[in-house]
Amino acid sequence: MIRFHARFKAACAAVLMLATSAASAGPIAVVVHKDAPAPTQAEIADVYLGKSQALKPLDAPEGSPLRADFYRKLTGRDAAQIKSMWSRIVFTGKGSPPKEAADAAAVKAAVAADAKAIGYLDKAAADSSVKVVLTLD
């Protein structure tokens, strides 16, 4: 019962997302552990596109505007293209796609716990518990 309800809500969200044009949600901050070295933008893009396993990336939930926004700003590609690229990698055993973090708090907790983790969230949600390595406007 609960699962159906959640799926229904997700389906509605997906329909709404397709129906409305992607509105910029504001600046996005890419964050890592406070003491971790700062990767370059190219390195961040490589990690999120599966070309590098140097870091462990975290994604916003699939279908969320934040996720679509992040990929569009970082790589210029939309969700379907990212999915295609990851399909090539996943189905060859070369790697697995970024794990999902439910919200900004989950991202902050994950990067604080692992020096190799990297995630993104609304800039407004970033605080001193994490290090901002890139801002995407």
């Binding site: 190219a42 699939e62 210029g76 939309d78 969700a79 379907a80 090539r88 055993g93």
Partner: protein, 375 residues
């Protein structure tokens, strides 16, 4: 009668047992953070040609193909993949692929099943059943969703018989500034099935492969060579009253060059393949170029393929070309629709030819529609 792409048969039971023991052993050794992840992909396609004189297929193990009657089994497949991760260093990957095998059966086969260990940063070792890393897109050839085109050009992807091998593979990766370089060394043996009018088995022993891939930004360049020390084909010719025919063993050397550019809007792919055997029977030069441009969710593309058969084992002579146009539409999440119209001619992947088709050597138009998905 040349060897296009057959299946990989069942992994020997001894190897499955070995892998299972290895997996259990790792688990029992108290490896931390174990994860298990499953995913899948599939294609449903409909193919039709304008000529009943032959049937169009995409792999050498298919005993049936499309003609003027629409065929739903040519490209259709379903893949299931499972990955088990044991901590940071060890993982096991298995992929089961169901696709048309011969005219009667659609059976799942183990496409790959291997154990992978990270020996050091950038150094991975794999053992088990692995994909033959012959082409730029060998690894994802069956995943329709991963490619812009409806099917990989047969002038290149359709001329190599063996798709998986049992053995070991080392993968070394290093980043030099903006460029990531990967070297892949493979060794093992392989088996497959063929259908050329007669059913047959193909075996490759003493396989050695080396490939180098360089990736920088939107560019990928790959050079690879695979040598099969002993390649043998054995056919069941009892329908002809000839019993079993075993062709002499040959040494097969296959070199491929691949280039890809994909900036999210424009995609260009080109590959060139050179095959040389010590007896020269299946020697060929072949290649293709494919280019597409993305407009929102739609990506129209065109592909040109060219096969120059140099050996004497081919049943056709002269350069064979294919011209195709198509489009991909990312219609919904995880689903892509594709259409492809190609103008081609008698080549390796036409089977069950009538004598008049063989004699006419007419060009054939092939219309294909597919739905690719991942889950």
């Amino acid at each position: 009668m040349i060897e296009p792409m057959p299946t990989s048969p069942r992994l020997p039971r001894r190897s499955i047992a070995w892998l299972a023991v290895a997996l259990l052993g790792t688990h029992g050794a108290g490896a931390q953070a174990q994860e298990f992840h499953t995913s899948g992909f599939g294609t449903v396609s409909a193919v039709r040609t304008d000529n009943d004189g032959a049937q169009y297929r995409i792999r050498a193990d298919q005993a049936r193909g499309a003609d003027k009657t629409v065929d739903y089994g040519v490209d259709s497949n379903l893949g299931l993949q499972a990955t088990a991760t044991f901590g940071d260093r060890v993982s096991a990957v298995g992929q089961l692929l169901t696709a048309r095998k011969n005219s009667a059966n659609i059976r799942p086969r183990i496409e790959w099943l291997y154990l992978q260990g990270r020996l050091a940063d950038g150094v991975d070792l794999r053992a088990g059943r692995l994909v033959m890393p012959v082409f730029l897109l060998s690894d994802s050839r069956n995943v329709g969703y991963a490619a812009h085109w409806l099917r990989s050009p047969l002038e290149v992807y359709g001329i190599y018989s063996l798709s998986s091998f049992d053995g070991v593979q080392g993968v070394l990766q290093h980043r030099f500034g903006e460029t990531s370089v990967t070297a892949q060394l493979s060794a093992g043996r392989s088996e497959g099935k063929l259908y050329t009018g007669l059913t047959g088995d193909i075996t490759g022993r003493r396989i050695r492969g080396l490939s180098l891939t360089a990736e920088r930004g939107d560019w990928t360049l790959r050079v690879g060579q695979t040598v099969i020390g002993d390649l043998q084909m054995v056919f069941d010719a009892t329908p002809l009253g000839l019993g079993t025919i075993a062709l002499p063993t040959v040494r097969d050397k296959f070199t491929s060059y691949g280039l890809q550019y994909d900036d999210g809007t424009r995609v260009v792919l080109a590959e060139y393949a050179v095959r040389r055997q010590d007896t020269g029977g299946a020697d060929s030069n072949s290649g293709y170029v494919s280019a597409g441009w993305r407009f929102g969710k739609v990506l129209p593309y065109a592909t040109y393929g060219n096969l120059n058969p140099k050996g004497n084992q081919f049943t056709f002579s002269g350069i064979r070309t294919t011209k195709a146009v198509g489009a991909r539409w990312d219609v919904a999440r995880n689903i892509a629709l594709k259409a492809q119209f190609e103008n081609t001619e008698r080549h390796l992947q036409f089977i069950n030819e009538t004598p008049s088709f063989t004699a006419s050597d007419k060009r054939v138009n092939v219309t294909s529609l597919s739905l690719d998905f991942v889950f």
